[in-house]
């Protein structure tokens, strides 16, 4: 497991020198999960930073808040924000750069390699603990998770508890950073789209039954889009209100908003919402798995996004989050894009 001592020192220096506005990292959680997002402004608070396999959150999401905040500051504090990122999170930064949502100078990236491990899956962990409370989780030299509980230590091979997305990860170290901790070792991935292929192999009606059951559960709390670093729109297209109005928004513009879906959390409306979200993440989702993790009903949303990641790769040889200069998936084409589905 990568150590973050060097990053902490870097963070302390950055804060001492006033080179960053604040630092977004991980600190101790309080609600039963060891880690939680932590925002640090004072150098002395740097010691509160932690790094362990429960640092599951994609902190890049908070850059969206930062952009909104900066927009209101008068005059804006243009210093960068320091941010801790894993491999997947760093790819979210790449996409934000690609889409000009942020500039490279807006962030000071403190990268951490997951090396051969990754983050734990909360459900798998809960099952393993069977009611016990975990105090710390570490990765030992033999690439096992060491779970420390009040009742002693439990050692588990990482594969057993890793989040599904980590098992299918294509970049377990940051692809963009200012400082990096840990080695750029890549874990071999046999089946980068294994989870999607499992669903694909089902007959059409079983696929429908699977998704219907899942999506019917949705209560439209919109945690999925709230946690997503790519869902940075001021107003989601499925919302019928015009959030992004200002004094000069005309009545026509307000009336021009379309009710693509209704507010009722009815199965059809939930489905359309999730389809819209999935298609809008096509070629943009970097598989941080946050949508699925935060879902209070455990809808496997990652599988929707992963499907389009798979198609982008297989149909268009497009990989998301590695090159900030790449045009977006849907704003580019090749003359020989497949068209066997067209009559």
């Amino acid at each position: 497991m990568a150590k973050i001592d060097t990053l902490k020192e870097e963070a302390r220096k950055l804060l001492q020198d006033g080179k960053v506005k604040y630092i977004i990292g991980y600190g101790a959680g309080s609600n039963g999960w060891p880690a939680a997002p932590l925002f640090i402004k004072q150098p002395e608070d740097v010691d509160k930073l932690i790094w362990d396999p429960t640092c599951i959150h994609n902190l890049v999401r908070f850059l969206v808040d930062e952009k909104r905040r900066k927009g209101k500051e008068k005059p804006p504090d243009k210093r960068p924000v320091g941010i801790f990122v894993k491999g997947c999170d760093s790819r979210a930064i790449v996409v934000l750069l690609q889409e000009k949502f942020i500039e490279r100078g807006d962030v000071y990236i403190l990268g951490i390699s997951c090396e051969k491990a990754g983050v734990v899956d909360d459900a798998k962990l809960a099952k393993k603990l069977a009611g016990k409370k975990v105090i710390t989780i570490e990765v030992d030299d033999e690439n096992r998770f060491v779970l420390t509980t009040a009742g002693g230590k439990i050692e588990v091979p990482v594969e057993e508890l890793l989040a599904e997305r980590c098992l299918e990860c294509r970049a377990n170290f940051p692809v963009i950073y200012d400082v990096l901790s840990g080695e750029k070792t890549k874990r071999a991935v046999d089946k980068p789209f294994g989870s999607v292929e499992k669903i694909e192999s089902l007959p059409v009606e079983e696929r429908w039954a699977f998704w219907k059951e899942q999506i019917d559960k949705c209560i439209r709390c919109y945690a999925c889009r709230s946690a997503c670093p790519m869902c940075y729109c001021d107003e989601c297209v499925v919302d019928s209100i015009q959030l992004a109005v200002s004094a000069d928004t005309t009545a026509d513009e307000k009336a021009g908003r379309i009710k693509w879906i209704q507010r009722s959390a009815a199965p059809s409306e939930n489905m359309i919402y999730h389809l819209v979200r999935a298609i809008h993440l096509g070629g943009r989702c970097i598989d941080c798995g946050e949508c699925e993790r935060v879902c209070p009903l455990d809808i496997p949303l990652r599988l929707l996004n992963k499907k389009l990641e798979k198609e982008a790769k297989e149909l268009f040889d497009y990989e998301v989050g590695f090159d900030p200069d790449l045009p977006a998936l849907i704003s580019s084409f090749r003359d020989d894009d497949p068209q066997d589905f067209i009559r």
């Binding site: 889409e99 729109c233 992004a244 908003r257 379309i258 704003s331």
Partner: protein, 649 residues
């Protein structure tokens, strides 16, 4: 509340035969906002139009839908009628219930239901249509022509003769292009120089043409009717006004470099005139080859001998800015690079030539004064092999396309060779002969029948030198026999390529290129001289391989298209263009990337529409993740309502 009127046309029995038009009108009358709905036997007739106009006035309609034939036929008719009655023409929509309904269905109740939905959908659309007026911008009534070959010359002359000022930019020291290098032209065997030089002179003398040779376009900004161009004028170090063409300078110049005009068959000095008839008639000091001209003068000999003192070493590159309303790009072609044809010994054996080099040998003013002599030993070749499709029609190794002119000029070469060397033998290797064109097929027949040129169908597999001969191995696929010819000379009909630098130029002009690097036309059939960028036109071989008459025709076509713009005081443009909702735009730039017309750009982190360039295709709309960009009068909101209308009931 909107007040919409619906007018359902019987079109005699064309619609009423399979659609219950009365029922359609009745159904539409039930829709909220529809305050008038009627049917009539021929809406497009004068009484029909009167009926619409009257209803608009009497019922105070603010929008109308005419359910009738395809909008391609009578949209303008009814929009004009609406206009006459005092409502904006964009508040009239056509519901196509003839071509897309009554003519293709037999089941009357179902066709009626479908017609109702089509009309309903149009009602939903028209209710949200904005009243719009055509956009207009003033036009700079001058043109820029890039490239001084036959296409550029023709285009410039046509424009100038139409009364418009033209700036003709040519990057080499003289206009004339490749055509001026040719000996005689097929199929009439006119002397190329004889027919071209009068045009070149006309260009130089024309009061409306500003000729800028030895110049290159650096940058183009703006849009149709209002382009701003920056032209770099390179120094020639010779003042043409003073130069008397005495040629003393070249005699003293110590530097000799290959002569581009003769494709390296001869040499020239660092100070030179490309060819005797060059326009402008003046010398150029080639600062790439004259040593250290920018710092110290290497020898100064040319200036010393120049009596009129025409040589000025202090000339500097100049950037000239011009405003023009239309641009014609005629940057021409080059032959496929020698280096790529190593298999034919091109570049390795001096007697393996390309077609243009052979043209120079044939030319009465060429290096051999029209005698056909081998470059290696200046002997007359007795056996000459011509190889067609050298680099063309070879998708695996070279260019996939047909270069179009090689069949004809090879026939011409072989024929002219026979005319010069009566006892010589000419062989032509070919894949097949493409001689479409006026008098072309007859010309090829003459080559074979009257001049005894031997045509061998097949490809050459190997060329090598042996005992002073160039041995050509090939296969005659008609007889199946292997062929070996001990040739004295081999002439390769090299593929035509876009001229060097065309790619960078296309970038500067924001022109699209096809997969082979030729400039892309806006539509392969219907807009063959227009580029994808409004106000820019294409002429000659820059767009695709073509022969002289075709190039000239396209140049005149391009000029005519440019005149369409230049003859206007102001340009009008459909107002159904994209509009950005700034509050929703995050400035991701995806719309900018997809816009086929470069009508979108990012300004202060938001997308901005150049309405004059926007054609309203709506690709940006589908790309935007936030629905922040919409095309006026076909917004997503409108389509959403139309979808609902199509499925309702």
């Amino acid at each position: 509340m909107k007040r919409t009127g619906v007018f359902v046309c019987h079109c005699g029995i064309n619609i009423a035969g399979t659609v219950d038009v009365k029922k359609v009108a009745e159904e539409l009358a039930k829709h909220p906002g529809v305050v008038h709905s009627e049917d009539y036997v021929y809406m497009c007739s004068d009484p029909g139009q009167n009926l619409i106009e009257q209803a608009i006035k009497e019922k105070k309609l603010d929008s109308i839908v005419v359910a009738c034939c395809s909008p391609n036929l009578h949209e303008t008719t009814f929009r004009n009628a609406a206009n006459r009655a005092g409502i904006n023409s964009f508040r009239c929509e056509i519901a196509n219930i003839r071509e897309q309904c009554s003519w293709v269905h037999k089941d009357k109740p179902r066709a009626t239901r479908k017609a109702t939905k089509i009309a309903h959908s149009a009602v939903e659309k028209v209710r949200q249509n904005e009243s719009l007026e055509p956009l207009s911008v003033p036009v700079t009534r001058r043109a820029l022509v890039v490239g001084g070959g036959i296409s550029g010359i023709q285009a410039a002359l046509d424009l100038a003769n139409s009364g418009f000022e033209v700036i003709l930019v040519e990057r080499s020291p003289s206009i004339g292009g490749h055509m001026i290098q040719l000996s005689e032209t097929f199929p009439t065997l006119d002397c190329s120089q004889c027919i071209l030089t009068p045009k070149m002179v006309e260009v130089s003398k024309h009061p409306k043409i500003k000729l800028m040779t030895y110049s290159e376009v650096q940058d183009v900004t703006g849009y149709v009717g209002n382009f701003k161009v920056k032209i770099l004028k390179k120094p020639t170090y010779v003042d043409p006004a003073k130069c008397t063409l005495c040629d003393e300078c070249t005699k003293v110049c110590p530097i000799v470099v290959p002569n581009e005009f003769d494709l390296g068959l001869t040499g020239r000095r660092a100070i030179y005139i490309p060819f005797p008839q060059a326009i402008p008639a003046s010398y150029t000091l080639d600062d790439k080859n004259c040593p250290d001209i920018s710092t110290t003068i290497a020898c100064g000999k040319c200036a010393d001998v120049c009596k009129p003192k025409a040589i000025d070493y202090d000339q500097k590159p100049e950037v000239i800015e011009e405003e023009v309303g239309a641009i014609i790009v005629a940057t021409g072609f080059d032959l496929y690079e020698k280096e790529n044809m190593a298999e034919y010994g091109f570049g390795k054996y001096p007697d393996v030539l390309d077609g243009l080099q052979f043209e120079r040998l044939l030319s009465a003013s060429g290096p051999t004064m029209g005698k056909i002599l081998r470059p290696s030993d200046h002997k007359e070749p007795k056996e000459v092999v011509f190889i067609q499709c050298s680099g063309s029609r070879d998708p695996e190794n070279h260019c996939a396309y047909c270069s179009k002119i090689c069949c004809m000029y090879t026939a011409k070469h072989a024929m002219l060779y026979k005319h010069h060397v009566h006892d010589g033998q000419a062989y032509v290797f070919y894949i097949d002969i493409r001689s479409g064109g006026k008098g072309y097929e007859e010309f090829v027949q003459r080559t074979v029948e009257e001049d005894g040129v031997v045509y061998l169908r097949g490809k050459v597999s190997k060329i090598f030198e042996d005992k002073g001969k160039i041995v050509v191995w090939g296969m005659d696929t008609l007889t199946g026999k292997a062929i070996e010819i001990d040739a004295d000379m081999v002439v390769l009909a090299q593929a035509m390529r876009p001229s060097k630098g065309a790619q960078e130029l296309a970038k500067k002009f924001k022109l699209a290129m096809d997969k082979d690097g030729f400039l892309a036309e806006a539509h392969p059939k219907l807009r063959p001289v227009e580029s994808v960028t409004s106000g820019m036109f294409l002429a000659g071989a820059a767009q695709a391989p073509k022969d002289i008459p075709e190039a000239v025709a396209q140049a005149s076509g391009a000029a005519a298209k440019a005149v369409v713009i230049l003859s206007q005081e102001r340009l009008f443009h459909a107002p159904t263009v994209a509009r950005v909702t700034n509050n929703l735009c995050t400035g991701c730039g995806m719309c900018v990337a997809v816009c086929p017309y470069d009508a979108l750009s990012l300004k202060d982190g938001k997308a901005e529409v150049n309405e004059v360039l926007c054609e309203g295709c709506g690709t940006c709309t589908a790309t935007c993740l936030r629905s922040a960009i919409q095309v006026k009068n076909l917004t997503q909101h409108q389509v959403a309502e139309m979808i609902e209308a199509c499925l309702g009931g």
